[in-house]
Symmetry: C2
C-alpha cells in the first residue's frame, strides 16, 4: 500500500479511536511530518484524501479539524454502491435470485458499450441491512472482464472478488438517480405495495482504463433507505 494511503488510514483510525468530534483539532502538519517521517507533500496527499472522504477539513492559518455529520442512521450513498464499506457496524446480506450467463438486450449493451452478441453475467439480488430489506438489484457484468461468477461469490461482495481474485480495479462510475413508483414485481421483493414510491439508481462502473464492466439497476425501499452525501466546496 502507498505511503499516503497508509497514513490516511492511520489518521482516520486515530480519529475513531479517540472518538473525536466535529471541530476537534488534529496535530499540525509539521508534527505529522516528523511523526510519520515523510515529506510535507505526502502528508498533504493523505489529508487531501481524508478531506474528499469527508473525514476532515483544513483551514489555512488555523489547523486541521475533524468533520462529522450528525445523523447516525444515514448510510453513505457510495458505501451501498460498491465503494468503501463504511456502513459502520451494520450488517449487509443478500438473497441471490439469479446468476446466469446471457446475451444483453439493446439497453444493457449500450450502457456497457458492448455488442448484443457479447456475453454478460446477469445477477439479481435482494439486499438487507441488519435484516431489513434495503433494495432490489439487477446487474450485468461484461463476461470478457469478469469471466466467472457463482452464487457464493455473489452472495458476498462482488467488488471484493473482482478486485482481489481478478486483479481488476474500479476507476470511476456514473450514477443516475430518479424517483418513481414501484412495479408489482418489485413491490413483491421489497414487501411493499405496487405504486409505492422508490428511489431508482442506475450505475455504470468503469475500470481505470475507462471501459464499463458493470451496469446495475437498483430499486430502493423508500422507508429503509436514507442516504448522506458529504460534498466538498463549489469545486467538486
Amino acid at each position: 500500500m502507498l505511503k499516503y494511503q497508509q497514513i490516511a488510514n492511520e489518521i482516520e483510525q486515530y480519529i475513531n479511536e479517540q472518538q473525536l468530534k466535529q471541530g476537534d483539532k488534529l496535530p499540525v502538519l509539521e508534527q505529522m511530518m516528523s511523526q510519520y517521517a515523510v515529506s510535507k507533500s505526502t502528508i498533504t496527499k493523505a489529508l487531501e484524501l481524508l478531506e474528499r472522504k469527508g473525514v476532515i477539513f483544513q483551514l489555512r492559518g488555523s489547523g486541521i479539524f475533524v468533520r462529522r455529520h450528525n445523523r447516525p442512521g444515514y448510510m453513505s450513498l457510495f458505501s451501498t454502491q460498491g465503494f468503501k464499506s463504511n456502513l459502520g457496524d451494520r450488517v449487509l446480506t443478500s438473497d441471490v435470485i439469479d446468476v446466469s450467463v446471457m446475451k444483453p438486450d439493446a439497453t444493457v449493451a449500450k450502457n456497457l458499450g458492448i455488442d448484443v452478441s457479447d456475453d454478460v453475467y446477469r445477477v439479481e439480488r435482494v439486499r438487507y441491512v441488519d435484516g431489513e430489506v434495503l433494495c432490489h438489484e439487477e446487474s450485468y457484468y461484461v463476461k470478457a472482464i469478469v469471466p466467472y461468477l457463482n452464487r457464493e461469490i455473489v452472495a458476498d461482495s462482488i467488488f471484493d472478488y473482482v478486485q482481489s481474485a481478478l486483479g481488476v480495479t474500479i476507476g470511476f462510475s456514473d450514477m443516475y438517480l430518479q424517483v418513481d413508483r414501484l412495479t408489482e414485481g418489485e413491490a413483491g421483493y421489497l414487501g411493499l405495495q405496487e405504486n409505492d414510491p422508490t428511489l431508482r439508481i442506475e450505475t455504470i462502473f468503469h475500470l481505470t482504463n475507462g471501459k464499463p464492466f458493470d451496469y446495475s439497476r437498483i430499486t430502493y425501499h423508500y422507508a429503509h433507505s436514507q442516504f448522506v452525501i458529504q460534498a466538498n466546496g463549489p469545486y467538486m
Copy 2:
C-alpha cells in the same frame, strides 16, 4: 484566480469547444507543461480538479482522456445544490414565496448549530428548469453570517450573492437524501397530488471554517428531477 484553476478552466473549455467525446485523448503532461509554462505539479493539480469533476480520467503509461456520461437529460446533483452551475443551456428560475427574519425552531437551530434565540432568514421558493417545476425549497440562513437578503437577491442565486457581495466562501456541505410521499401543501406547489412520490434532500452548508450558515429542505418533483453523480474510484 489561481494558476491551476485557470488551467483547469481552459482545458475544460478546450474539451467543450472541440466537442471531444468519451475516450478522446488529450495532450500529454509534458506538452501541457510547456504550453502553459508551469511546473508539472501545477498541471497535475489542474488535472486532478478536472478528474474530481468527472471531466477527465488519467491512465498511467497511457495518457489523459475525456470522460463524459451519456445521458443529456440528467442534471448534476450538485449543480442544483448551490454548486457550480453547469446546467448547460437550461434556465433556472424561481418564484419567491417568502423572505423573512425569524427565530428558528429547535430542529433548524440544531442543524445550524445556533441557539433558538438567534435570528435566521427564512426563504421559501419554488424553482423551475426551462419553465417546468423542479422543486419546492425552504431554507434558513444564519443572520449573523448573512445579514441581509431581499426578494430580488433571492430570486437570483443566493450563493453568488453571499460569495461576491459578502465575501463568504462555502467550504463543504452535508446532504441527506430520502424518498417519501408529498404532503398536501407541497403537492400544491409542485402541481402534483398528495401522497405522490418525492425526493427530499436536506442540506447543511458550511463555511470554510466549518460553521454552518444555511440549512435547506428541498422537495423535488419526481417527474422532472433526474440526477447524475459522477463518482471517482473506491476512494471518494
